[in-house]
Amino acid sequence: MSRDFDWPEFLFLLGALRWTDRAVADCASSAAASAASCSPSRARRRTRSCAGSRATYIGVMQGTPVLMQLFLAYYGLAVLTGIRIDPWPAVTLAFTMYAAAFLGRDLARRDPGDPAAAVGGGAGASARAGRRSCVT
């Protein structure tokens, strides 16, 4: 027999919000994301191999679904290192790496998109300026 959708069920859903909040608090506001994004974006200023690894990192993180990254962070770590971590640290790890790729790319734009964005040039100006560095 199935249950109806009533107030108790709705309160259950509201109760589940605290885990979603935790995910957001863990990942979106985590200083780790911004700190981690600095390393790919700063990498281009150093050597060619640094820039290459930055491009590879961003290409991989942006070329794969975040769902897959989540699976890899959770199952992959256990298989590769033998350390089985809880789901939440895995979520934090995967989302931080994902956010770092996006922030890293935006910070690392190497052409006039930087000043355009800095002076509030808007999406159009930034897109125009970033056309070459960001093929897709």
Binding site: Q62, T64, P65, F71, L72, V79, G122, G124, V135, T136
Partner: protein, 133 residues
């Protein structure tokens, strides 16, 4: 997914159209272009060229976003991977290979989109090619 994509794409194209300087439209008027010609040659084409990278990104994200359609039991790469890993318990291996396949698809899509950009906006247009550099 169509509705979701159209929401983002509309906003991207709008930003491109707003980025067309008003003076260019006035220049079109003073050169005797018709309204349709102005719309086509001065507004839409440069606007699309401007927002092409963002739009292409959105296409790739749409492709990657297809990994969630398994949630409504539609059969695709992620759904099949889920099924296989739940029967074999080799989660990491299956997800690793599936991620590789997604990565290859994304790289292929980027190459294709880059080729389309070249064919539509750069081939046979040396002046615009120079302008875009």
């Amino acid at each position: 997914m169509s509705l979701n994509f159209s929401g983002y794409a509309t906003e991207i194209v709008r930003s491109g159209i707003e980025a067309v300087p008003r003076s260019q439209i006035e220049a079109g008027h003073s050169l005797g272009f018709t309204r349709l010609q102005i719309f086509r040659h001065i507004i839409v084409f440069p606007a699309l060229r401007t927002v092409y990278p963002a739009l292409a990104s959105q296409f790739v994200l749409l492709m990657l976003g297809s990994s969630i359609v398994a949630a409504i039991s539609a059969e695709e790469l992620t759904a099949v991977t889920n099924t296989l890993q739940s029967t074999t318990f080799r989660a990491f291996e299956f997800y690793f290979v599936a991620t590789g396949i997604y990565l290859l698809m994304a790289l292929g899509a980027r190459l294709l989109l880059h080729a389309i950009y070249w064919a539509v906006f750069e081939r046979g247009r040396p002046i615009e090619r120079a302008w875009s550099r």
